[in-house]
């Protein structure tokens, strides 16, 4: 693998200098560091696996090598512009990403100005695609996810929900708003609070939840914060379950809850076992590649974001084929018509550029084994 990579890289260097190669560049706009770094890396794994599975694409009768160009947006909106600029200056045909809605919104204008389409992988905030023609996405949206979670909480008999998000994180704040709307629409009470970035001490927020007599603690936060919350909840011996969004779907979070008695329930995009061929191939690839395994948190559990990254890569390839050109404007024009059946389900775009999806998986952590367990597949009518 290393050798292959070395050769590819050597070729890249030689080729980019001479610019005579048949290479199409796909930008990977993902966080490799910061609070969402762990999630971003897992999302990238899906793309990398897809890339080594299908390293070439036929565009307009010519076979092109697909080159993934990485830019680390650092999980933060102030580092996002330079990462986006970097991809733009590299001349990518299409951008994949990002994990996290805030960075997607922060980078959006740069892609728009350069006429480069972007395919959001797991950024669920409606604002990513609303009001623009260059941003697309293959995942469900927060109004949907918030409603699913609120329904689930209400079904479990919850009357009061304590909701906690990070200040200035568009993903957290968006999901909190939609959850609150839906939950209060069902007759419950939702208390929303936010913590400043880089908070480590969540004990007082957990105390707040207890003081409000919360039946459920909703915290759709980054992986880094959710592991802290779970561990501190364990030491406070809290009685309420913790409810989360798709960000919590990671083996890192599952490991944090392992051996404790904190219940963690989330909604997500993909459940291991839905597409066995993908599961087997991906696991085999992970286990054969130590760096990939490390990036996946040390074991071969499949995160939903990896499956989504995999699907995003193939969506990009379909768009390139349909465009018949590596020109980014042509790819943008072709994207609305792209349809495919990915491992996470059928993908097609609506008028806003959002994927038409109506199902989310509800999963929970098995506290003994530290695995995710399937609970239900939820749909919202309308």
């Amino acid at each position: 693998m290393k050798k292959v990579l070395a050769i590819v890289l050597a070729m890249m260097l030689a080729l980019s200098a001479a610019a005579l190669a048949e290479t199409v560049k796909i930008g990977v706009y993902e966080p490799a560091s910061g609070d969402s770094g762990a999630g971003g890396k897992q999302e990238m794994l899906g793309m990398q696996y897809a890339n080594q599975e299908t390293p070439t694409v036929e565009i307009g009768g010519t076979t092109y090598d697909v080159e993934l160009v990485y830019a680390d947006n650092g999980s933060s909106t102030d580092k996002a512009p330079s990462a986006a600029q970097q991809l733009v200056s590299e001349g990518v045909s299409v951008v994949l990403g990002s994990y996290g809605s805030g960075v997607s919104i922060a980078g959006s204008q740069y892609f728009a100005d350069a006429n480069i389409p972007a395919i959001g992988v797991t950024c669920t905030n409606p604002q990513v695609t609303a009001g623009n023609s260059h941003y697309f996405r293959i995942c469900f949206l927060d109004p949907f996810q918030g409603t699913v979670l609120a329904n689930y909480a209400a079904q479990q008999g919850a009357k009061t929900a304590y909701c906690l998000g990070e200040l200035g994180n568009d993903y957290d704040q968006g999901l909190l708003t939609y959850f609150k709307q839906a939950f209060e629409g069902l007759g419950g009470t939702a208390i929303v609070e936010s913590f400043p970035t880089n908070t480590a001490d969540f004990t007082s927020y957990l105390t707040n939840a207890t003081a409000y007599n919360a039946d459920v603690f909703f915290c759709p936060v980054s992986i880094a914060y959710s592991t802290q919350i779970i561990q501190q909840a364990a030491s406070q011996n809290v009685s309420f379950p913790i409810l989360g969004g798709d960000t919590l779907d990671s083996n890192v979070v599952a490991n944090a809850a392992k051996g404790t008695n904190v219940q963690v329930i989330i909604t997500t995009f993909y459940q291991e076992g839905a597409t066995p061929t993908f599961d087997e191939g991906f696991k085999a690839w992970l286990n054969a590649n130590s760096e990939a395994l490390t990036n996946n948190g040390g074991n071969d559990m499949i995160s939903a974001v990896s499956a989504m990254g995999y699907d995003a890569y193939y969506t990009a390839l379909e768009a390139l084929k349909a465009a018949g050109s590596t020109d980014s404007a042509a790819v943008m024009a072709a994207l609305p018509g792209v349809t495919l059946t990915g491992v996470s389900g059928a993908i097609a775009f609506d008028a806003t550029g959002d994927a038409i999806r109506d199902a989310a998986f509800v999963k929970k952590i098995n506290n003994e084994t530290g695995d995710w367990e399937f609970v239900a597949e939820q749909q919202v009518e309308g």
Binding site: G34, V192, A200
Partner: protein, 307 residues
């Protein structure tokens, strides 16, 4: 009312004790060098990272603990020798800039080594165990922290008041030049101060990260700043002042986080106000108030201008 407030006090005392241990390092260095050691919070963070990597490399935990503390002290020593000592004769602004540079360097080094990902702190047996105190469940470390802090402070105060090196420290902090003329080896005194300060920051890091188990390159920034505020609040240069200041800040910060519910239950506000947003800002508001009202802090000595 009491049962509402008690858990916040408990969290506050615990985190206050950890701030106190960091604040001592600030206050001692400031007392002697008149330098805000901006890198101190980052040394605290590096101690956490050292522990993570050492435990991951298979060193048994009982060996890790002393090793981390010693290594942290060594780092403190090296930083002083490399980044502050050459600037002894330079204006104070230069030294402060150097401190900011060291802070920037440490953060970036850790970012490079960890790849910018959160590192999970190893679980240290016994102090990580759960206990229930007056109906509130928490980790053992919450109770140990204030006790350990007080023990260390008493030991430190004894060291300063009753040993030769302590006397030298007091002399140097009173008058740099004169004590040099009296034959005190300034550099040795300053190094000792740094070693003690960073050692305590190392202890604080073990306690802090056992409670809040994630370490990342920015983990030290906020606790560092807050500890510094605590040192100013208590009167910079005064060790008991730093400790009192740290406990006040730790408790106040946690009460702010719960202020909505406390006020709500007391019937003072109609609904949540989102006051938890100000949990960090309040610390700085406190700082500015004390600086405006009593610039020398609660226990500080009067400083006269030197022309």
């Amino acid at each position: 009312m009491w049962s509402t407030v008690f858990p916040y006090l408990l969290s506050g005392i615990s985190v206050g004790g950890q701030y106190a241990l960091i604040a001592i390092g600030y206050t001692m260095v400031y007392g002697i060098l008149r330098l805000i050691n901006f890198a101190h919070g980052d040394v605290f963070m590096v101690a956490g990272i050292l522990m993570v990597y050492m435990a991951a490399s298979g060193v048994p935990l009982w060996l890790c603990l002393p090793l981390v503390l010693v290594l942290t002290a060594v780092i403190g020593f090296v930083i002083e020798r490399v980044a502050y000592k050459p600037l002894r004769a330079a204006p104070r602004m230069s030294v402060m800039i150097s401190a900011i540079g060291v802070s920037y360097t440490l953060q970036n080094l850790v970012l490079y080594i960890t790849g910018g990902l959160n590192q999970i702190y190893p679980t240290i047996p016994w102090i990580s165990d759960n206990v229930t105190i007056l109906g509130a469940s928490t980790k053992m470390v919450t109770i140990i922290t204030p006790i350990l802090t007080l023990v260390l402070v008493v030991a430190l105060v004894w060291l300063i008041n009753h040993t030769k090196i302590g006397m030298a420290m007091r002399a140097v902090s009173r008058d740099f030049e004169t004590s040099q003329l009296m034959g005190i080896k300034i550099n040795r005194v300053i190094s000792t101060t740094f070693v003690i300060g960073t050692f305590l920051a190392g202890v604080a890091s073990v306690l802090y990260f056992t409670n809040y188990t994630t370490v990342i390159q920015t983990s030290g920034a906020m606790p560092g700043l807050k500890a510094f505020v605590a040192a100013v609040f208590g009167g910079i240069g005064s060790i008991p002042g730093a400790v009192v200041g740290a406990f006040i800040i730790g408790i106040a910060e946690n009460l702010i986080k719960g202020l909505d519910i406390i006020l709500f239950k007391a019937g003072l506000i109609p609904g949540p106000m989102g006051l938890a947003t100000f949990s960090d800002a309040f610390t700085f508001a406190l700082l500015i108030i004390i600086l405006a009202v009593k610039p020398t802090g609660l226990f500080g000595e009067k400083i006269t201008d030197k022309v």
